[in-house]
């Protein structure tokens, strides 16, 4: 508990990190809870109300089918954030496993890392597009494709950290005691990878939301009937010249979320890296 307050104090030493964290919490809380509180149906079509400009009744206006955009942004946030978290989680798990093996077992290093390098040589979005094309467009396939895209990033970071940690004396001490290799991996190396992995998690969370929007915008992402921020922008493209709000407000939601995540990620990284830490 003491440690937690100490960590939070250090993390929020910079005002901007605190603001970003609060924004992020609000967005997540709204996306999770608001649909339960509000009675407005995000899929309620009203032809009379189509493409209405923002007003007191519809804060962010309405889309081409007369659906309330505020509601749809909040509703879509659930999907976007879920895609972000799921992608970050899967790529962190897979990347940590690969990086740990490559970094710890010298024989695995070259084969694993060459595959990782090959994957990283593709542009992110291109690899995403081809994977979704192969797998077929669905929510989970987008998550799967993006996880594949971001796994190499994590693997590289984890491998580099593992190479450092495996040479530390406490690992030698464990070896001298006869501690098994499996236990050295999970009890000695894995816990010390927490910091770099945590930083990667926040960044991938942000990238995945952006990438999903990009894929959906290009028509190879989530099917249009699922209201993610990306599909909302994609479907409002043809009305953008007469109803700018249909594209601006989902865009703001994406920017706000991705930016907050990046700032929080930066904050976490700065807190964990003693070399970047400003002396208070």
């Amino acid at each position: 508990m003491e440690q937690l307050t100490y960590v939070l104090k250090r993390l929020f030493a910079r005002r901007i990190v605190l603001i970003a964290a609060v924004t992020l919490l609000l967005i997540v809380a709204l996306s999770i809870f608001f649909p339960f509180i509000s009675s407005v149906d995000p899929n309620g079509i009203s032809v009379m109300e189509r493409l209405k400009a923002p007003s007191a009744e519809h804060w962010a206006g309405t889309d081409e089918l007369g659906r309330d955009l505020t509601m749809r942004i909040v509703w879509g946030g659930r999907y976007s954030i879920m895609i972000g978290i799921a992608t970050a989680l899967f790529s962190v798990i897979a990347g940590t496993a690969l990086g740990l093996l490559a970094g710890f077992f010298r024989r695995l290093d070259a084969p694993v890392m060459r595959v990782i390098d090959a994957m990283m040589s593709f542009p992110d979005i291109l690899l995403g597009i081809s994977l979704v094309s192969i797998l077929g467009a669905s929510l989970w396939n987008v998550v799967l494709a993006l996880s594949v895209v971001y796994t190499p990033r994590v693997a590289r970071v984890v491998r580099a950290s593992t190479l450092v940690i495996r040479e530390l004396l406490f690992v030698d001490a464990a070896r001298a005691l006869g501690v098994s290799t499996a236990r050295i991996l999970y009890a000695h190396i894995l816990p010390n990878l927490l910091s770099p992995v945590l930083v990667q998690f926040t960044f991938i969370f942000a990238y995945a939301i952006l990438a999903e929007a990009g894929l959906s915008f290009l028509g190879v992402g989530v099917p249009p009937e699922i209201p993610t921020w990306g599909t909302m922008i994609a479907s409002s493209l043809q009305y953008a010249d007469m109803a700018f709000w249909t594209i601006v407000f989902p865009g703001i939601a994406i920017i706000l979320t991705a930016l907050s995540l990046q700032i929080v990620g930066d904050g976490v990284r700065d807190m964990l890296d003693p070399k970047l830490r400003k002396s208070a």
């Binding site: 406490f170 030698d172 001490a173 001298a176 005691l177 006869g178 236990r183 009890a187």
Partner: protein, 347 residues
């Protein structure tokens, strides 16, 4: 020291080359010695002489390139890590850097508990807790520290925890790999006293690696002087300090700081230059490039260790020849003696 006690550890022709190809790093190059039960053997030498590598080889943290390591007669130099595992409770190591040798994410209770669990000791919650408290008490720490993390301790306290971890499995033999060099001088004395006390109480056999000649003199029964992966001289501590034979030992003793620098002899045989590269050691005697007494013949053959007096082995044939000149009256005498030798060679 009773010379008849069987050796606990016996090392023969031990070699460790790092890297491969034409010029591997010859960290340890054909070293043979024995450590008797209950004795504390000192290992001195400059940085890069292979001291730590020998310590790590003995407990198989590093695999030897060649040679034998016998633990009570059994050669453990080439057995698998799996076969080695049960033997690990008999030999432990204390590391140089107490800041890196404790996992920052584990509580002290977990660090010591891991040692116990690995060898199935002190099973059951109550016995385990009691044993951890006992271990902390043994190294002079309060049992309530068990719940803390390493970063909450000072360097000296961390080193005590490192000692407690090594003792947790009740080893008979401990490698102390420069356990003092990362500590403040005031703390060094505490840890030296702790080690000396534990050695007495637990009857430990120890290989004490250091470059601090004063600590070696205080703690050790016999001393090995190492240079560039080879043994220059082995002798009981008192004899080595009073009657050093090898020119390198003499230079080391002369370079050791004295409480009153004005009392140092004028013509101390201080060494110039650095230790040569272990990837390309000099032919013959490896010390000849810095030796004040080097002669052309020194480059021809590797001088073997020869017993110049009971239990006293020296690898320099030049000094054995004129050993009659040795004085018996302490360090100063040895230094004076050396001065006459160096003067002799320079004239």
């Amino acid at each position: 020291m009773n010379g008849e006690a069987p050796p606990l550890i016996e090392v023969r022709g031990l070699r460790k080359y790092f890297g491969s190809g034409n010029a591997p790093i010859r960290a340890v190059d054909g070293v043979s010695f024995a450590i008797r039960e209950g004795e504390t053997l000192g290992l001195v030498g400059e940085s890069g002489s292979g001291k730590s590598t020998i310590g790590r080889l003995l407990i198989r943290l590093v695999d030897p390139t060649d040679g034998e390591i016998r633990l009570q007669g059994r050669d453990i130099a080439r057995i698998s890590q799996r076969q080695m595992r049960p033997l690990r409770s008999r030999m432990q190591i204390i590391f140089q850097d107490p800041y890196a040798s404790l996992n920052p994410r584990m509580r002290i209770r977990q660090i010591l508990g891991e040692a116990l669990d690995t060898h199935g000791l002190a099973k059951g919650k109550a016995r385990r807790q009691a044993r951890i408290a006992e271990l902390l008490d043994l190294v002079g720490l309060s049992p309530e520290y068990a719940e803390r993390y390493p970063h909450e301790f000072s360097g000296g306290q961390r080193q005590r925890i490192g000692v407690a971890r090594a003792l947790a499995v009740e080893p008979g033999f401990i490698v102390a790999d420069e356990p003092l060099s990362a500590l403040d001088v005031s703390i060094q004395a505490q840890v030296v006293n702790l080690l000396s006390d534990l050695k007495e109480r637990l009857g430990l056999t120890m290989l004490f690696i250091s470059h601090d000649l004063d600590v070696i003199e205080f703690l050790c029964d016999r001393v090995i002087v190492l240079y560039l992966g080879r043994i220059m001289e082995i002798a009981p501590t008192g004899i080595l300090y009073r009657q050093p034979r090898h020119p390198y030992t003499r230079a080391l003793l002369a370079a050791s700081p004295t409480p009153d620098p004005t009392q140092r002899p004028e013509n101390r045989p201080l060494l110039a230059g650095d230790i040569p590269s272990p990837a390309d050691p000099p032919s013959g005697c490896v010390f000849r490039t810095r030796c004040p007494r080097a002669q052309p013949a020194c480059g021809e053959t590797i001088p073997p260790l020869t017993e110049v007096a009971p239990d006293h082995w020296n690898a320099c044939p030049r000094v054995s020849e004129d050993s009659g000149q040795m004085t018996e009256d302490g360090k100063g005498g040895a230094r004076d003696d050396f001065d006459t030798i160096t003067q002799g060679t320079s004239s």
